[in-house]
């Protein structure tokens, strides 16, 4: 075992990096009650700005840092001005979704410019190391610590002693009252986004130099770690964010020392869930009371769903059933099969996020559970595939509900973070539980779908199977949400306190919603696994969760038919124009942003 001193130093360094991210998140949450999902992307842009300065222009360190700070501050101002300010007065969920969209767009732009592959960001500090105890400490380590301490001190001074800093604090405590003191809260918002983004970018470039490695997707993990750190210290609290970050850095460092590197993230997310459940106000707060939540109330844009006559549903079903007979283009049929599988995922998500109002950002985790369950049942236990599919549905329902259960008492933003973390935890458990899941290698040679012993390789057959299952599930979900259950779930969405006052058991109904949702998503994941014949821990990643979210918003949250329309539109249409395949995810991000801004009720209207 290497020395504990080394791990402590390492933990504090990483903690300092987290602090730069978490402080920004806390500032933004403070003044605009918003969890900024785009923050990690700003951090990533910071790293790439640093790379451009170092590798392309060849600036010395101070100029590199200045470039990053100025560039990211400007980016933050743009995000606030054009991404978020137009959403004033929109439903509270809108800005959160907008930050997700902005994050996707930034990440994709970076991929298009710099390619998705990692590249080296050489440290610009001398390579000497100072022996310390049995280990040593490098110039970069000291520099990171110094940047962390100095930034925190400057920020403290700004908040405490400047006119504008006072305005920031007042706005964070009571936005309306601040306005009535004559504070221009837009300007405060802008300043906060600039500061937060500058710190985030600084963090990105330092991390890049520390690991000598940057890649466009690096922001996602950073956002999550920032959340964890912020949550440990209490959401919206700047000193809390610093303390939480250092603590998280230390815990991770010691955890890695004990168990190995691949457990690093698992630690962070388990802490996140534990804090959310036991100390949602942060570990320094004594109350267990769930903090007041800005997101409750009118959760989604109220609207009238578009009326579709029954014969149109019947006609559409008949046309799509007959399609493989008429249109013999196997590429189209395959694409639509894919759309049906996504349609199931969208059905599952729209029940939870739309009808019940529980914003789930980890729905791909359910696909993974379903896929692995079915694949392993069929491979390791020799269960016939149709039975394995069904069992996978039930296993996902049970396991999914069990995993989310601790988060049932949370609301709005906090549900979004908790589900995001649970989705990550599923992936990390799959990665680390090699005995069951074969770890990073993945599951190979999954038997194909079969029907009474007859394997289905044929594209049309797969099309029919997935389409039929999706239609049946949609009918079942429609039937279930039509009457008592649907009313209860919508009541929880609109006002869970009032719902409880009318005798609706939140746990029971949320449980039912997540169980049905898990069953549907599990089936989708299972069918996918048998179709692909190979899955690994990254097959069902967070990007899929976000794509599903975009689908249900496009279709209209809670709208069953809309969910399917959304899936066909987002899976089918980009595939039709293969030339744009490269820009697909960028397109999703832009679609999400445009929807949030101009048509939050979606194409078919919310239910």
């Amino acid at each position: 075992m290497t020395s504990w001193l080394d791990h402590t130093v390492n933990g504090l360094i990483i903690g300092n990096i987290y602090a730069l991210i978490a402080v920004g998140l806390a500032l933004i949450f403070g003044v605009s009650n918003l969890i900024n999902f785009a923050h990690g992307s700003v951090y990533m842009i910071g790293a790439y700005t640093g790379w451009v300065c170092v590798a392309a222009i060849g600036t010395p360190l101070p100029l590199t840092l200045l470039g990053v700070v100025v560039g990211c501050a400007a980016l933050g101002i743009l995000i606030e001005r054009f991404g978020l300010r137009p959403l004033q007065g929109a439903p509270r969920i809108a800005p959160l979704l907008a930050t997700i969209g902005i994050g996707l767009v930034l990440e994709q732009i970076a991929q298009l410019i710099f390619s998705p592959d990692p590249r080296a960001l050489p440290s610009q500090l001398p390579a000497w190391r100072l022996p310390l105890g049995s280990g040593s400490i490098g110039a970069l380590d000291l520099f990171i610590a110094a940047v962390g301490v100095v930034s925190t001190a400057v920020l403290y001074g700004f908040l405490r002693f400047t006119h504008l800093g006072w305005a920031v604090r007042a706005t964070a405590q009571d936005r309306d009252a601040a306005l009535q003191m004559g504070i221009d809260v837009h300007r405060v918002n802008q300043v906060v986004f600039a500061i937060a983004s500058a710190l985030g970018g600084l963090s990105g470039v330092l991390v890049g130099m520390y690991f000598n490695n940057i890649f466009p997707a690096m922001g996602f993990q950073a956002t999550l770690k920032g959340f964890v750190a912020e949550l440990i210290g209490g959401v919206g609290s700047v000193p809390g964010a610093v303390a939480g970050s250092l603590l998280l850095g230390l815990i991770e460092s010691y955890g890695v020392a004990l168990l190995g590197t691949s457990y690093r993230n698992l630690f962070a997310f388990l802490i996140l869930i534990a804090v959310l459940v036991w100390r949602p106000n942060g570990i320094f707060s004594s109350t267990r009371q769930v903090p007041p939540e800005p997101l409750t109330g009118t959760f989604i844009a109220p609207s009238k769903p578009v009326h579709v006559p029954r014969w149109a549903y019947a006609a559409a079903t008949a046309i799509f059933l007959a399609l493989p007979l008429i249109w013999r283009d196997s590429y189209i049929i395959q694409t639509l099969t894919n759309a049906w599988l996504y349609g199931m995922l969208a059905l599952s998500l729209t029940l939870v996020a739309g009808t019940t109002g529980q914003m789930s950002l980890g729905h791909a985790g359910l696909l993974a559970i379903g896929g692995y369950a079915s694949a392993l049942l069929a491979l390791d236990l020799g269960v016939p595939v149709p039975l394995a599919l069904l069992l996978a549905g039930f296993i996902t329902a049970a396991l999914g509900t069990l995993l989310i259960f601790p988060a049932f008492r949370l609301r709005g933003h906090y549900v979004a973070i908790a589900t995001l973390a649970i989705g990550e935890i599923v992936g990390l458990v799959i990665l680390n539980w090699e005995g069951l899941t074969r770890g990073p290698i993945g599951v190979v040679g999954i038997p194909p779908l079969e029907f009474f012993g007859l394997p289905l390789y044929d594209t049309s057959a797969l099309y029919w199977v997935s389409f039929t299952i999706m239609v049946l599930l949609a009918l079942l979900q429609w039937r279930l949400t039509q009457y008592h259950l649907g009313r209860a779930l919508r009541a929880i969405r609109e006002d869970d306190v009032a719902a409880r006052a009318f005798g609706i058991s939140l746990n029971r109904y949320k449980g039912l919603a997540f169980a049905f949702s898990g069953f549907v998503a599990g089936l989708s994941g299972a069918i996918t696994a048998h179709m692909y014949s190979y899955i690994n821990h990254e097959t069902f990643n967070t990007q899929i969760s976000l794509l599903a979210l975009t689908m249900i918003i496009l279709g209209g949250m809670g709208n069953i038919f809309g969910a399917i329309v959304g899936a066909v539109a987002l899976i089918g249409l980009p595939e039709m124009f293969r030339a744009v395949a490269e820009y697909r995810i960028l397109l999703y991000g832009i679609v999400l942003l445009l929807l949030v801004r101009f048509r939050p009720q979606g194409l078919m209207g919310t239910v």
Binding site: D174, A177, Q180, M181
Partner: protein
């Protein structure tokens, strides 16, 4: 209404499709205490919001000293000399009393004068002097109301809008608050206050308006209104008459 410091001229306000004010017109003469009375959902608090620019009326004009402020953003209205004592006080709970008071002078740059005003205002509110370093969130309701009023004064306003300044206070503090409002008024600051408790408000006000479902149902000098049988019935606990 000539010579009024604040004028509302046929204002129509909406919350989405719901109309709150119907051609609302009223005037607040300089140096006076004017109260706006009315029951629940009569549109009283909304009147405060549109004066402060927190909500924009769909039509009509709001004039401060003859100048239109209808479409100005809230900070500009504050800088023009309107201060607010918001409903349920809305202090900055994690800031100290002193910081809260200084926030009231946020738009002012004359630091020395601000410090003088702070000392002067603390003479008016001696209780607050003892609590300058305490966090505002830990004060009692009555003390918080004092801070809110003192904070409004710190901006050297011409007009203070008070939304239900006596709400939720103990009887002792209610009297104290009313006295203070009169003291402030005597210093030349115009006061426009919204009150549900007509009896209390009319004791100190010069003039009153009664708002009913977004329209002025009645207006007059305070003694007139106090004598008015309708008012007595509806607001002063004569007979309990159900309102529309």
């Amino acid at each position: 209404m000539n010579g009024a410091l604040l004028t509302l001229d046929s204002v129509n306000t909406f919350y989405g499709p719901v109309q709150v004010h119907f051609d609302l017109s009223l005037g607040v003469p300089a140096g006076k205490i004017v109260c706006l009375l009315g029951g629940n959902a009569s549109g009283k608090s909304t009147t405060m919001k549109i004066i402060l620019g927190l909500l924009k009326p769909r039509s009509g004009a709001i004039l401060l000293d003859g100048q239109p402020i209808t479409n100005l953003p809230t900070p500009a209205i504050v800088r023009a000399g309107v201060a607010s004592v918001p409903e349920s006080r809305r202090l900055f709970p994690a800031m100290t009393v002193r910081e809260n008071l200084l926030m009231g002078a946020f738009t002012r740059r004359d630091r020395a004068a601000v410090q003088q005003d702070l000392d002067r205002i603390l003479e008016l509110f001696p209780r607050l002097g003892e609590r300058l370093a305490q966090r505002a969130g830990t004060l009692s309701g009555g003390e918080q109301q004092m801070v809110a009023m003192a904070r409004a004064l710190m901006g050297r306003p011409r007009l203070i809008c008070m939304d239900e300044p006596t709400m939720g206070l103990s009887p002792l503090y209610v009297d104290r608050v009313l006295e203070l409002i009169q003291t402030i008024s005597r210093q030349g600051v115009t006061i426009f206050m919204v009150e549900q408790n007509a009896n209390l408000a009319l004791q100190i006000a010069h003039y009153g308006y009664v708002l009913q479902t977004g329209r002025i149902a009645l207006q007059g000098s305070a003694p007139e209104l106090l004598r008015n049988p309708q008012i007595r019935d509806v607001y002063l606990g004569g007979q309990s008459v159900q309102q529309k």
